[in-house]
Symmetry: C2
């Protein structure tokens, strides 16, 4: 079945396209929301069938939250829910699916075996994307006969609220497969970030890891508190970065653009990192008060509420960002 999503997941006149979600934890549920709200049919499968059944109500809850924040029309929730099915067999879930999103455990052996099984049952040439944040497709798909259709499709948490999705083909992923998955992400209002080659951590976690390493270093050297470092981002860098990326930020911060910025500030950044220390021991920082401070702000016993608050704020922000398009 060709993958050519239009506005509402159907080729004009054709039946709704179906997506199979394999692995129904929070990431799988969020993916289901992403596809349902764009008009796709979604089949859920989990090796633990009870988990798949529970996921169903999780998905509907997420849809209701989106409606409450004005991010989808409440009158369509019943329709979207009717497009959601739970299968107790993998073959049934994959039947007629135009795309498979796998959200299995982050374990090479498990993922390799699961991918081989998906490849046996999915229709030929249907792309098989993995949500893995740490295992490149070249590792888990190397012995899979249909490895040309396997690739990483890595979302940012929570996937139904953060549009960026990393698409990471292996050296043997067929370019048309990568292109079709990129088109599919565009069709579901996600933002495809296309990697031209595999690299540990992909792009998003490498950028995050670089900033985190420096944050841990500053904390370890007693330069500022974790709370102030967090505020430097949430009321500073992040506010700007939610509108323009890091390169664009440079470009807009010098009258002559990026070349002038690099000329003016490049030496300052080089000098700043001249001692370029090895990565901090994160565990030491934990014991040095990081965990205590964070738990004071967000107790672990109340973390679900903190996560819900974060998601509410993200949804309000998204509604705000989308508002101009509706006017």
């Amino acid at each position: 079945m060709a993958l050519s999503a239009e506005d509402d997941g159907r080729v004009r006149g054709a039946p709704l396209q179906k997506v199979a979600i394999v692995g129904c934890g929070l990431i799988g549920q969020a993916w289901a929301v992403v596809f349902l709200r764009s008009g796709f049919r979604v089949a859920l499968f989990d090796a633990d069938h009870a988990a798949a059944l529970r996921a169903c109500s999780g998905v509907v809850d997420r849809l209701k939250e989106l409606a409450a924040h004005g991010l989808l029309n409440r009158s369509r929730i019943a329709e979207f829910a009717a497009n959601l099915e739970v299968e107790d067999g993998l073959e049934a879930a994959l039947e007629d699916a135009a795309y498979v999103q796998e959200n299995g455990p982050e374990d090479l052996g498990t993922k390799s075996a699961l991918t081989a099984e998906l490849d046996r049952h999915a229709s030929p040439d249907v792309p098989i994307g993995s949500s893995t944040s740490g295992i490149p497709a070249s590792q888990y798909s190397v012995d899979v006969p249909g490895r040309h259709r396997c690739l990483v499709v890595h979302p940012i948490n929570p996937p139904h609220l953060v549009p960026a999705v990393e698409i990471v083909p292996s050296p043997w992923t067929r370019p048309d497969v990568t292109a079709r998955v990129s088109d599919l992400m565009e069709a579901t209002q996600q933002t495809p970030i296309l990697l031209d080659k595999e690299i540990d951590g992909f792009v998003v976690n490498r950028l995050q890891g670089a900033l985190l390493s420096e944050a841990f270093r500053l904390l370890g050297q007693g330069v500022a508190s974790a709370e102030d470092i967090d505020k430097a981002v949430s009321d500073g860098l992040g506010l700007r970065w939610s509108i323009i990326g890091p390169f664009e930020t440079m470009h807009l911060n010098a009258p002559g653009g990026v070349a002038q910025y690099v000329q003016r500030y490049g030496p300052m950044y080089r000098e700043m990192f001249r001692h370029d220390m090895p990565p901090e021991d994160w565990s030491a920082a934990l014991k040095d008060g990081l965990e205590r401070g964070l738990c004071a702000r967000h107790p672990v016993s109340n973390l679900a509420q903190s996560q819900a608050d974060r998601d509410s704020a993200l949804m309000a922000l998204l509604a705000h960002r989308l508002a101009p398009r509706n006017t």
Copy 2:
């Protein structure tokens, strides 16, 4: 004169407090907006008097933009503008000022001489903050008699739209001076980020520099395009970081909080940076297409418009972030 700002810049029953802005480029103008909208009187001084006169209309333009985005009441613009004065002498600008914000050139000799002059004319114990992004107070104030009242007060561009402000005392800055400046920033709705010691680049630019270095490395290795790296931040990390900081992000991304996050993902980040390359040559990346790509999106000839668009988006975002407080 004691510095004890209340809601509208006046101690109950007392006259409005005055702030002196020395150096009237874009940063100085934005600082004027910050103080005016919180009800302070603002005196502008620039060694180039014509620049100070031009700054006056720049400040009023910024106030009008804020009103257009619902971030201040249009009916108060005339009142704020009436609290703005341009002085052609430094002494007049500093007379009765309760705080001095210096925005001079980023040159050690110039800044040292200017600071000494400010110290000669400002009332005793009035804090003298510098907007410098690169020169610690211990360098430019070392020979200033009143060095105990000198410190860095470094804003993020554009300062009237991004609340975070780094407060960086030198080893000899008196703690009560630092505390008063921190209170003043709170009183003007800025977010003080307090550094416990001086470090090259302070916190914000070190965090930004760490992320930028990795962005340049990914670009240099051909992993992804500059545009996709930008989108990975603006539609991914930055969206989240505009709501919660990097440490909070970790803490909320594992059911057991930050300790579990470090246990689960610490090894992945360590492995990711195991080859920890030296900083990229940024100039090489420029020639390799970075500048061309950025200029295609934001031509240098049109950069003022791109900056205005960025500011409009930032203001709309701020209006959105502030909305819940008004309900």
